[in-house]
Each structure stands twice: as structure tokens, then as C-alpha cells.
């Protein structure tokens, strides 16, 4: 969102939507074209997908995708073709491999860890409370009063 602060510091001179006009024979290919060009990153302009970019190389790559689609290549073949030439950098969806395992699995593991921690801490607390045999529902009102006192003290 802050992107325009940055823009002000830029060297680029033109930012405008790239619009190409490819005619597709069938709807399915058109959808695949949109998906492929939206999920690949333009190597030149760095943080735009091919679809939005107006860089010359993005235009060439879109042209290539179009030609490959028309030649009935599969999505996998097209993606492999691009990665062979431009590296993993062009993929906005990083492949799942050893290097990216943390990226893909991290959030899920973290979620589990978070939930386990909650359960663990709550159980510990429950055990402690049992040991102290202090189930203290009546403290609640008292605590509430204490809170009020602290707040009032503040008012002076």
C-alpha cells in the first residue's frame, strides 16, 4: 500500500497497464492463459506479473505462452519451459521442495504448535489449581473490585 512512496524514488518512467490482444479459439485456453500469465513474475520489472507488465520481455513471454497454448502444450510444459530459462524466480507460486518446505509447511506447523501450547498451558494451569485446591470463582468479583480501585486511584 505504501507503494507510492516508493514510486517517488524510482527510476522508472512509465507505469501503465499492459494490454495485449490475443484471440483464443476456446474459452479454456483463454482462462489458462490468464492464469499462467498472472502467476508468473516478469523478470525485468521485478514485482509485476506477466499479465500486468508492459516490459518488452513480458510481452515476449506472453507471446510465447500464447504460442505454446495454441500448440497444445500443457501447463506443466509451459511452466517448465519458463523455469528452464529464467529460473524459479518467475514462479509466483514457489515449488514445493526441500528448500521451500519451511515456507509451505511453516504456517501449518505453527498453527498446530500454537494450539498445542494453548492446551498444554491450560492443562498445567488446571493441574496447579487442583494442587492449590483453589478453584476461586468468588475471587472474581474481588479482582474486579481491585481493578476498579486501581483505576480510581489513577483519577486521584
Amino acid at each position: 500500500m505504501l507503494r507510492f512512496f516508493i514510486i517517488a524514488l524510482l527510476s522508472i518512467t512509465s507505469v501503465y497497464a499492459a494490454i495485449d490482444t490475443y484471440e483464443f479459439k476456446d474459452k479454456d485456453k483463454e482462462l489458462r492463459f490468464h492464469k499462467l500469465s498472472a502467476d508468473m513474475r516478469c523478470p525485468k520489472c521485478q514485482n509485476q506479473n506477466l499479465a500486468d507488465s508492459n516490459a518488452a520481455i513480458a510481452t515476449d513471454l506472453k507471446q510465447k505462452i500464447y504460442l505454446m497454448l495454441e500448440a497444445d502444450k500443457s501447463d506443466v510444459e509451459i511452466v517448465d519451459y519458463m523455469v528452464e530459462r529464467y529460473g524459479d524466480f518467475v514462479l509466483y507460486e514457489p515449488r514445493f521442495n526441500a528448500q521451500n518446505a519451511v515456507l509451505w509447511l511453516g504456517p501449518g506447523v505453527l498453527l498446530l504448535l500454537g494450539l498445542i501450547t494453548i492446551i498444554w498451558l491450560t492443562r498445567r494451569r488446571d493441574n496447579k489449581n487442583d494442587e492449590n485446591s483453589e478453584s476461586r470463582p468468588e475471587l472474581d468479583a474481588k479482582q474486579q473490585k481491585q481493578l476498579q480501585q486501581v483505576l480510581n486511584k489513577g483519577k486521584k
Binding site: M1, R3, F4, L9, S11, I118
Partner: protein
């Protein structure tokens, strides 16, 4: 003369913030009331001099003082006045000055509106804010002064503001966003003050709640405005790009959302204290981290910027001192779990804690995705990209879980809830939302679609549970109006914000599933059809604006023969910057936008490449965002906070 005055005022402000960062804190540590008393006047002095500094820069912009480098690089004599003034924050130096100015504004606000605070607490809070201000004003003065001159020879005219920024969006969006970013410094300062004083009772939660809510509301509004701005200004019809810079604003918002809820529990029930403290530190730390990511050049954003390792290094040191310092303090002084009350396995406390985990995991996912390319690169394993497909793949499931749990926590009671009680509360909303979710894709679309089913079900679920909860408030009353006025503004704020979540979810679901888009070569007279609408291109002509020339297309849109609207997209050429810009033309509507952008001229027959979008429910995104922000704002005006301050006025 005036720019030097601005620089001088900035130096004085640094002096005051340094004193603010030391004397009151020392006074609080040694219980010296006189020294603690200095905090308030120092906060005022710091604000005053930053205001003067800011005004000096504004003066330089308004009067086209191109001897000032920053003005020369970001303004032009032809620029309309409102853009000259908003150009103040159109670049690095000025936006940093705005940052510092807003920080001093929040500091002033705390000193004015926290009369209920004990003196030592106030001294500590203002002192901590003084520390942050000291860091940032130093950063300004040493690496990024906006007052440097081109002397003796300076350009006759300025290089002009980037055309993308010559827009209403730039006037309002950055200040909003910064109000949010910097606003989290208040919650942060309260948390640090609580840790320093060792008084970790629920009182600090009560004090920091309104500040946190209002900062969160500003941040949400800022993000919403930014999304809207990107949508109409960039010409791509996208509303969220998962760009590092966007992510930098989303992370503190997510953690801030967790913080708001955690603070509520801490205040009401006296539990989760350590967790809440940590969240308060996190929220502001992520704001700072965002600043680092944006300024240092370690990541490429949509538009790469001149990377400046020196600035990056300075901010990194600031980060280490503030975040590292506060986390160290936290590690040593955070309370052991000494809950003031207990709660059961199935209780509102527990559910809110789980929601907190979801929100924080979402924030960490954004962080991980944003920084992963950097990590891989730093390890020497090459360059990779992490973009929208990754974030969407992870956000959708977590968000769905969160929404599910949101509905349940609303129905759960504090301390302990029975399963049967929950079932009674939730059965009807569950059936309603499943039915609506199942039926909707058949009625609106052309068949079952899992994404739509999921999105609509969870949105309906949130709405239905919120409505049920609201309705139950009236179960035992005769007078509805009496009950309506009895409910607190906090409560209404919460309702509104939760409905906002549902509205955003509906918008995201529908716009990402049912949008249609065509890129067409259109010669004058050509027609295309999209989503039942007919678009006829009438041709393009040259038009002239204040500081640009443009090709303007005329496109007549009809629906089943009836005229709907005529749109005029432009392809602009800004003369000073010599840059091209797409100015999209949009017919907005609550249920759909028609969005047109012009590409390149093609051939000699007057044909152009035209992009036509049909975007259903796209407005709901921003509507929902504003509802959330409005909800956050409402809570601040709750009587609980107001009556306190009015009673103080009586005391004073």
C-alpha cells in the same frame, strides 16, 4: 531561510524528544515527581517544533522553492496546489517527517487525554514514546533531511511528482496509514511502561484499549483506501497484489486485530496478560519492520526503489534497539501465569485465544512469505518469488477457520459454556449459512463452485451469529428502545466490525470468482459483449490536462439495448516526467463495477487495445473495510472512556 528554520525546528524537536526520553523515565524510576512532571510540557514542546518543521516544508512546497532538493525532486510549478501539498509525503524524506510529526501528535494526545493515569505511568508512557521519537528524528536529520538545498545553482523548475501520486488517494491514504502504524506506538508504550513498573494489573489494559482501537481503525482505513487507490489508479483492476509493501501494512493490522481482542479479555477477565503484552510489542514492531522493508531496499516492490544501504542500516539499528530492547525487557519481566480468574476449556476466553492464534499465524504467514525470498537469497540458494498463489492458498483455509471460530466465540459465555447451550445458540445460524452457501452459487453463478460455497457460507455464518447474538440481547426486555440505548457503543462497534468482516469476505469471494475480463483490439465502431453488457468503441481523441496530454477513448455501454453509461478511459502522457499512465474509467456500482482501460494504439485505423473488466461486488471489499474501521472508531467514544475523562475535567 524558511527551510533552515524547518531544519532548526527539527533539531530542537530532537532535543526535546531526547529529554522526554530520559528525564521522566528517570524520574519514574526514582519516584521524583518533579522530573515526571516534565513529561507533559516536553510532549507539547516536541509537537510544537515538529509542527513548525512540517509547516516550513509545506511552505517550501506551496511557494515552489526549488532550491530545496526534496521540493525540486517531487514538485513542479505546474502541479495543482492540492498535489503540491500532498507531495510533502510523496517521497522518502517528507513521508518520514510526516511519520515523526504524527508520532509527536499521538504523544501530545496521550498527554492531553490521559489525565486518569497515575503520574509515573504517564511519565513512562510518554518517555517510551520520546525514545521512539528520538530514534526517528535522528534518522531524519542524519540520513534523510528534507531541507537540504541545491545551492548556489538550483533548477528553474521541479522534476514533478510521479503522476501515479497526483491523485486524491495520495492526499488521504498515507496520513491515514501512518496514523495507524504510529498509533500502535501508544499501545507499545503502555506495554513497556507496564513492564517497567512491574504493575501488570488489568488497569494498563483498560488504559491502552481506546488507543489501540483507534490506531487499528486508522490502519484499517488506510489499507482500505490504499486498496481502492491501487484499483482505480494502476489500471490493472487488481485490488490487492500481495506486494511486500502491502504486506508490511497488513501484518501490523492482523496482529493489531489480535491485540484488540486480547486486550478486551485481559481487561475484563484478567487473563492472558503476558500474551497481550507480547502482542502490543509485536504490533508496533511489525510497523517498524514494515518501515525497514520499505525504506532499505532489501525487497523489491511493485516499483523498485533506489536502495539505500546506509538508511537501511540506520533503521536496522533502530529496530534492534527498540524491538530487541523491548523483547529483552519482556523476557525478563513478563509475568508468570498468574491469572486472576480461571476459565474452562469451552469458554469465550478459550475461543478468543484460539482466534488470536489464527490471527497471529496469518500475520506470520505474511511475514514468512514476504521475507522468504530474502532468506533464501541470504543463504546463497538463489532467487525465488513468493506471490499471490502462495498467500491465497494459505489464507483461505486459515481465514475460514477463523470465521468459524468467530461465530462460536460470540455465542460462548465467559468462564464456561456448555455444549448444549452452544448448540442451541448456533444450530439455526449454522443451518441458514449452509443453505445460503449451497444455494447461492446456483442462483448467482451457473453451478456449484466450492470457493463460492465456502466464502458465502462463512460470511453468512458471521452475519447470522452476530444477528442471533444481537437478538438475544432483547430476550428479557419489554422495551426495545431502552435496550438499544442501554447497549454500549463498544458493543455496537464490535457488531459493526464483525459485519465488516463478512462484507469483505463476500466481496473477495465474488469478485475473485465471477470477475470477467477481456483484452480486445477495438477499432471505432467495434462492439464486444461481456457479462451481458455491450461495449461499443466510438474512437479516441486527444485531450489536454493541466500537466498532461492524453488520448481519450469513448466507449458506450448498453445492457439489453438500454444505455447504461458512457466511459472515457485515458492514456495520459505527463509532459514533465515524460511518462505514460493509464487512467482507467470506471462505472461503479454496489453490485458490480465496469472498468475500462486503454492500452496501445494498434494499426492505422484508429484501433486501440482495450481492457474491459466486469467486477461484481468489488465495492464490498472497501465497504467492509470501512465498516471495520468505523466499528473500531465507535468503541473509542464509549461512555466508559468518556465519563472518565469528563469526571476528570470536573476535578481539574
Amino acid at each position: 531561510m524558511i527551510p533552515e528554520l524547518g531544519e532548526f525546528a527539527l533539531i530542537l524537536a530532537l532535543g526535546f524528544s531526547f529529554i522526554l526520553a530520559t528525564i521522566p523515565l528517570y524520574g519514574a524510576a526514582t519516584l521524583n515527581a518533579l522530573w515526571m512532571d516534565y513529561a507533559k510540557p516536553l510532549a507539547k514542546a516536541q509537537f510544537t517544533f515538529l509542527l513548525i518543521s512540517f509547516m516550513c516544508l509545506a511552505y517550501a512546497f506551496a511557494n515552489d522553492d526549488f532550491s530545496v532538493q526534496y521540493v525540486a525532486n517531487h514538485s513542479n510549478s505546474q502541479l495543482p496546489m492540492q498535489f503540491k501539498l500532498s507531495a510533502i509525503w510523496g517521497g522518502h524524506e517528507g513521508s518520514l517527517l510526516l511519520w515523526a510529526f504524527i508520532l509527536s501528535g499521538w504523544t501530545l494526545a496521550v498527554s492531553l487525554f490521559s489525565r486518569g493515569l497515575p503520574l509515573d505511568m504517564l511519565a513512562r508512557v510518554l518517555g517510551v514514546m520520546g525514545i521512539i521519537a528520538t530514534g526517528f528524528i535522528s534518522f531524519l536529520l542524519w540520513t534523510s533531511s528534507p531541507f537540504l538545498r541545491y545551492l548556489p545553482r538550483f533548477p528553474a523548475d521541479g522534476a514533478d511528482l510521479n503522476p501515479l501520486l497526483q491523485d486524491f488517494g495520495l492526499i488521504v491514504h498515507p496520513p491515514m496509514l501512518y496514523m495507524g502504524y504510529v498509533g500502535f506506538s501508544v499501545a507499545f508504550a503502555f506495554a513497556i511502561a507496564a513492564l517497567l513498573s512491574g504493575r501488570l494489573d488489568a488497569a494498563w489494559a483498560r488504559w491502552s484499549r481506546p488507543w489501540t482501537n483507534i490506531a487499528w481503525a486508522f490502519l484499517g482505513a488506510g489499507i482500505t483506501l490504499g486498496s481502492w487507490w491501487a484499483y482505480y489508479e494502476l489500471g490493472w483492476g487488481g485490488w490487492w497484489f500481495w506486494d511486500p509493501v502491502e504486506n508490511a501494512s497488513l501484518m501490523p493490522w492482523l496482529v493489531g486485530t489480535a491485540l484488540i481482542h486480547s486486550l478486551a479479555v485481559t481487561e475484563k477477565r484478567g487473563v492472558f496478560k503476558s500474551w497481550t503484552l507480547l502482542l502490543a510489542i509485536f504490533a508496533f514492531s511489525l510497523s517498524l519492520l514494515g518501515t525497514f522493508l520499505v525504506r532499505s531496499g532489501v525487497l523489491t516492490s511493485v516499483h523498485a526503489f533506489a536502495s539505500d544501504p546506509e538508511r537501511g542500516f540506520f533503521i536496522l539499528v533502530l529496530l534492534l534497539l527498540t524491538i530487541g530492547g523491548s523483547l529483552t525487557l519482556y523476557a525478563f519481566k513478563a509475568p508468570n501465569v498468574k491469572s486472576e480468574s480461571s476459565f474452562g476449556w469451552l469458554s469465550r476466553e478459550m475461543l478468543l485465544l484460539i482466534n488470536n492464534v489464527f490471527l497471529v499465524v496469518m500475520a506470520i504467514t505474511v511475514l514468512l512469505g514476504t521475507l522468504y525470498p530474502l532468506l533464501i537469497d541470504a543463504l546463497g540458494s538463489g532467487k525465488i518469488s513468493v506471490g499471490p498463489p502462495y498467500f491465497n492458498a494459505l489464507f483461505v483455509p486459515i481465514m475460514s477457520l477463523l470465521a468459524l471460530s468467530m461465530g462460536i466465540s460470540g455465542a460462548a459465555r465467559w468462564r464456561q459454556t456448555s455444549i448444549s447451550g452452544l448448540k442451541k445458540q448456533l444450530l439455526v445460524p449454522a443451518i441458514i449459512s449452509l443453505v445460503v452457501g449451497l444455494v447461492f452459487p446456483f442462483i448467482y453463478g451457473d453451478g456449484f463452485n466450492f470457493r463460492v460455497f465456502l466464502g458465502i457460507t462463512i460470511s453468512t455464518w458471521i452475519i447470522a451469529t452476530t444477528a442471533k447474538e444481537f437478538k438475544d440481547k432483547f430476550r428479557n426486555t419489554n422495551s426495545i428502545t431502552a435496550k438499544l440505548s442501554q447497549l454500549t457503543l463498544s458493543y455496537y462497534g464490535m457488531m459493526l466490525a464483525h459485519l465488516g468482516v463478512a462484507v469483505v469476505a463476500i466481496g473477495i469471494t465474488l469478485v475473485s470468482t465471477y470477475s470477467e475480463e477481456r483484452d480486445m483490439r477495438m477499432a471505432p465502431g467495434d462492439k464486444i459483449e461481456l457479462a451481458d453488457y455491450q461495449f461499443e468503441f466510438k474512437g479516441a481523441k486527444k485531450v489536454k490536462g493541466a500537466n498532461f496530454t492524453a488520448d481519450e477513448g469513448t466507449i458506450v455501454i448498453t445492457l439489453e439495448g438500454e444505455p447504461v453509461v458512457t466511459l472515457y478511459p485515458q492514456k495520459r502522457h505527463y509532459t514533465v516526467k515524460r511518462s505514460m499512465m493509464t487512467e482507467a474509467s470506471i462505472d461503479p456500482g454496489l453490485f458490480r463495477d465496469l472498468y475500462l482501460a486503454m492500452g496501445e494504439p494498434l494499426g492505422n485505423d484508429g484501433a486501440w487495445a482495450i481492457r474491459v473488466h466486469y467486477k461484481p461486488y468489488v465495492r464490498w471489499l472497501w465497504l467492509g473495510g470501512l465498516l471495520m474501521a468505523l466499528g473500531g472508531l465507535l468503541t473509542v467514544f464509549d461512555k466508559r472512556y468518556r465519563s472518565k475523562s469528563s469526571s476528570e475535567v470536573a476535578h481539574a
